[in-house]
Symmetry: C2
Subunit: 405 residues, 2 copies
């Protein structure tokens, strides 16, 4: 008799986006003429850069002729892309990451979820609260979270680090020993960032106690402030304690095309084993490389035209973010994030609950947001708005919210 | 201090293809003018079908304009592809598989490796010997294999089922209780198939004891014999005991494009839990869907032109396989597989070891094969040849082997 992984039965329903959809559908049914503006989901809307489109067309044509056909590629990704990344994302910023420390994949969600394979199940996991749910759920599935407590909305074995306005959205170093620490900067959902000094403190802590930092830099291209590192490897000591996840989803519009990468430095060793070699073995056994067509598209992001075109799309979203921030502030709300991020983290007025504020924005302004409580208990009292939409929608949404009074 | 997954340290080196490469390079260095014919690696060489190429170009263009842009798709795959598969691969053969039981992915290797996530670590795994190494290694990584014994080349907790000429390449039902059984038909590496009656015996066994069959049908499109099921769901009772893995890699040349799918029937329940729902949760948490561009390409395989074009490529490889089989038999060798498969499983002459025979074919005919011993102890005494190459190479290789005497 086959035995199932009992940890799956402990997972609470993935309630957030289905509940948003349910409430939105109920509102739309009552108000069929309502002109809904969706600022809830973090998905891009701008088309791919022309340089990327051209590269993908060329790659498709490569697969159309025997002479240029590409079958199985390297599980770690093609050298052309790994080298473009090493140069464009790291060497260009003075950061030393070798092409062979870069593992191309179909996206950061896969890597964030699968990286747990190379760690034992008895590690203590620390996450920020609020948090991107994949870090928590993937560890719960692997048995690292213990049981879920409905009342506190927390897993018994996970260390939650409140990340709120009170601590400037930089979690305090944990008071209990932890083994694996998830950090995300620019942060999803709060849109806030960790400065060089703040990251240095985390790197020093991890090196001291042997913890490993899982650094999610999926939104790095939105950074404008000079003292905010784009990569954790800009911080001395990170190569011996950190794995970094990157994605082309938000930086270059690849949410549908699918491509990302993970950096596992050669210097990262635990229990006498190279985590680089372990991840390589994991990928060679359980992954067959990202699509050739998509890797060629990703390579084009690093050409001069590709860079310029992608920067234009980022600038478009960034202007949306600033416009939303200004609109909300003009309407009297307290707002975080937005400056170095496509996410705007808005404090609810007068201690209102985040679902209550969600309902108010939906019913009175027909604007869909994401309740902060959906990202963890410390997200209560906030809603998240995203800048991934049309300029006119951002403008209209702010006019409506401003008019609420 | 982060703790690593200690099971990785138990894995023997992945020796097979690197050793083949080493011996080939040594031979080529000694004989720089040698005209090597590669029949070792199971990778396709024909270009993608024109209908697939056109569909991919159209999909790339969809991503070039805001009006037709596709961001995040469903984690389970797009309905257009799931429905095309349900119709083309199942309903058309009288098999009832719902579109919502089909999970699209970036390939069967990912799914074969990741499916273990939903099972407990204490399941007893049964595999054929010889075997596709992913089944064994992915379970060893998850702690289901115990320790590896160098002498026997076997893991202590895995049940090996010899699959050889002596039992007609159909493994006997295990004498000890097993929980998860990997079957592959048409088989890699032997090229042999399981008939309807043989599969029925396995399905009945699994339903009786509650085991789950992992059925790898990556090569189904090569089947020509009427009594060989293309899907395990052609066999009554399979929906309550089997998960099926399919790939577009070998059927439609997608080894570089990357796409496959896995069927988890709604009727498959263990420990009171729906394995369909568990796999859905796994994919939603740790996967973000296959590329839109590639899914559109896969959809085109099911159009009338796509079907015809893909059948032509399969016919090309199939003719190669038959030609290799005839050539080897004419040279006096005993050969299995080839009829319903791109793989030819050739008995070594006079009890010669498989590495010895590999060396002989390399040094005397400049033909590269794969030693059967690399797929498990019961593969000793065989080499594998593949039909995925140019017709002229297959012809020339057989001429050379025939001339060896």
């Amino acid at each position: 008799m086959a035995h199932i992984n009992e940890n799956y039965g402990k997972l609470p329903g993935s309630y957030l986006f289905s509940e948003i959809a349910r409430r939105t559908a109920a509102f739309a049914a009552k108000h069929p003429d309502a002109d809904l503006i969706r600022m809830g989901i973090g998905d891009v809307t701008r088309p791919l850069a022309p340089a990327v489109i051209e590269a993908m067309h060329r790659a498709v044509d490569d697969l159309a002729a025997a002479e240029t056909f590409h079958g199985y590629g390297p599980e770690q990704g093609y050298a052309f892309l790994r080298e473009a990344i090493a140069q464009g994302d790291f060497a260009a910023r003075g950061v030393s990451v070798d092409a062979d420390e870069i593992f191309i994949s179909d996206g950061a969600k896969s890597d964030c979820g699968n990286i747990g394979d190379i760690f034992a199940t008895d590690n203590v996991i620390a996450v920020c609260d609020p948090v991107y749910p994949v870090y928590v759920d993937s560890n719960a599935m692997a048995g690292r979270a213990g049981d879920y407590d409905e009342a506190s909305q927390r897993w018994e074995n996970i260390v939650y680090m409140p990340t709120t306005a009170e601590n400037g959205f930089c979690p305090a170093l944990p008071e209990v020993p932890v083994d694996i620490i998830y950090l995300c900067s620019p942060n999803n959902p709060t849109g806030t960032v960790l400065t060089r000094d703040q990251l240095q403190a985390w790197v020093d802590y991890a090196n001291e106690c042997g913890a490993v930092i899982m650094f999610d830099a999926a939104y790095e291209r939105f950074i404008v402030d000079a003292d905010v590192p784009h990569s954790i490897y800009e911080v001395p000591g990170a190569a011996t304690c950190a794995i970094e996840f990157r994605s082309f989803s938000k930086t270059a519009g690849f949410t549908g095309a699918r491509c990302g990468y993970t950096v596992v430095p050669r210097a990262l060793v635990r229990g006498g084993q190279s985590l680089h070699d372990m991840w390589n073995r994991r990928q060679c056994t359980k992954f067959n490389g990202a699509s050739y067509v998509i890797q060629r598209g990703a390579e084009a992001i690093y050409t001069p035209e590709g860079t310029r075109q992608v920067d234009e799309a980022i600038a478009y979203y960034r202007t949306n973010a600033w416009l939303i921030k200004e609109g909300l502030e003009a309407a009297g709300y307290t707002v975080y994030g937005a400056v170095n991020s496509p996410y705007i983290w808005c404090k609810t007025p007068e201690g209102m609950g985040s679902w209550e504020f969600f309902d108010r924005l939906l019913s009175e302004a027909a604007v869909i947001t994401t309740p902060g409580a959906g990202f963890g208990p410390a997200g209560e009292g906030y809603v998240r708005l995203t800048a991934f939409g049309e300029r006119t929608d951002a403008e209209r949404a702010m006019e409506r919210i401003g008019a609420l009074g």
